[in-house]
Symmetry: C2
Subunit: 359 residues, 2 copies
Amino acid sequence: MQNIFVIGLGLIGGSLGLALKQSERAVRILGHDTDKTAIARALAMGAIDEEAPIHKGVTESDLIILCSPISTYVSLLLAMRPYLRPGSVITDIGSTKQAVMNMFEELLPDFAWGIGGHPMAGSEIQGINGADRYLFENAVYILTPPADVPEEVMTGLTGLLEITGARIKIMSPDRHDEIVATISHIPHIAAASLVNLTTGDNETLMMAAGGFRDITRIASSNSGLWEDILLSNRGKLEGKLAHFITLLQEFKQALAEEDVELIREKLENARNIRNRIPGIRKGLLPNFCDIICIVPDRPGIIGEIGALLGSRGINIVDIEILRAREGDGGTMRLGLPLLEDAHQAVKLLRSIDVKAWVR
Amino acid sequence: MQNIFVIGLGLIGGSLGLALKQSERAVRILGHDTDKTAIARALAMGAIDEEAPIHKGVTESDLIILCSPISTYVSLLLAMRPYLRPGSVITDIGSTKQAVMNMFEELLPDFAWGIGGHPMAGSEIQGINGADRYLFENAVYILTPPADVPEEVMTGLTGLLEITGARIKIMSPDRHDEIVATISHIPHIAAASLVNLTTGDNETLMMAAGGFRDITRIASSNSGLWEDILLSNRGKLEGKLAHFITLLQEFKQALAEEDVELIREKLENARNIRNRIPGIRKGLLPNFCDIICIVPDRPGIIGEIGALLGSRGINIVDIEILRAREGDGGTMRLGLPLLEDAHQAVKLLRSIDVKAWVR
């Protein structure tokens, strides 16, 4: 039985608890949060086994995972310190790693191991209500161990975290911070600045309901949390931001000069690079074909479709409502794992007045 | 019976055809495309009634909709010109409007009306395969009529386009171009530049699989099309790009000076503005509560859930697989219109071994 102490029961802490509890591994999870509602919810979901104050959680656990904002780490580490024992392992889930490794170095006793961590997964739903056993599935999970950490400690931690379905990668804190500056922090600053560029004008916002709303989603994140993140990665951000501004100035220059070749080159370069970013699959199984169907808006239609295909042994592995009109109907996408089922499914759907075709 | 000629059977042309054909209004849709596969697909889907060459389509129609790239307009307008008749109405779906209105002014005879149009809707699936009857539902659809167009012409066009479910807004081409510069074109340049900032480094792209991939999705769009769009809105873009660069420089300065107050102000301002952008609803009906369930990966589970809830008269109005692990299971969201159904649904789901709770 391994005892784990999760401090901070939000989206990440809750999801880690759910993933670890629901595996076959024997773990006991103690949880702590300053918010009593979060604790109650975590207990009800089965993300933690019991609530514990800091001294109890630290005393009774082999592994402590900090899942609260980075700004809380110093006081937590000071509070934890008297109860740590030789070989205690502390990890975290913060978005920057050099600043965290410096805190570990400074505040942890020599006999305990502080190993930085950063699971690169998120959700639109913040807090414990967004917690999901599968949140980390196929996500990259960075660990930044200090040079002197024993191999068996790393093997133990890696083996445990792999239960979540994440792909563990070892990296230096410096390299981590450089990469997240590029793929997370600069995009955040860009999204906030794009939103601010609208100046909040009503007519502009009315027209922004489609794509603009999607691409600036991160600008609605918790601003206090992001203020912390950006400041703690200040060193890397200044250079990256300067580089980003240079790229925009080059674009501006190309537009001013009507340099079609350069504009095309920049757009095509971006397109080629982006198409190399690996995607994360969502359906229950790889789906080999999609069926699009136009469903009438009648009560129980989704259940009806599921039952009809299920009765013929056709397995739906992905399902999504694409668009709809109230009182009229909508378009739905069904993912099927077998191509040979698709044409039969289309026929069956048409028999209940659902217009359908294989995409 | 109204005759409509759609030139360019891609995502927008195909979706317009589907939406207009499937209403109760009697319309006959003629279609044209240089790609024979697109024509065959549009006919098979019921997006058009018949294929027509330019001279036939123009001669036989009351309304002509240009749904091809803006760079094709000049040659199309020249080809159409001999066949236009008094009162012919020409509209388009291009992303910039001043340049298009200038072409209409210059190339259309005085007895025909050129009215710029821009439906603000899109899809991840490009071309006719992405065509969707409900694509425009609740989307903003801008029209930029010239000053002298008769009111009955505008009423006719507006009434027809409202069939698509879009919300029609009249605007000057100049104002339109200014707004789309802010909410569409600058975000496109920003997304391409964010992707280029990665320099295509493999390790960086591996870590970009999550959020970064989503927010830079537009950088994978057709670069030829976007080259056209950006150049045709060059006038507005230079000023907006300069303003965007200034906002980023202010951010950089605030980071350099560790000006926590200013960083917070910028992030909170963005958050407040973004939260004012209206959302577009996707489910079949407004859903008042979400149920989250962890489903085992067994064949037919989605059908089983649909059938079970359907058999008790519980109407599912939205459904989405959030995350999954192959061979293990996944997390699904069900949207229900009635709160009183939610607790019964949770009980029913638990009876078939599906862990579920009301979010």
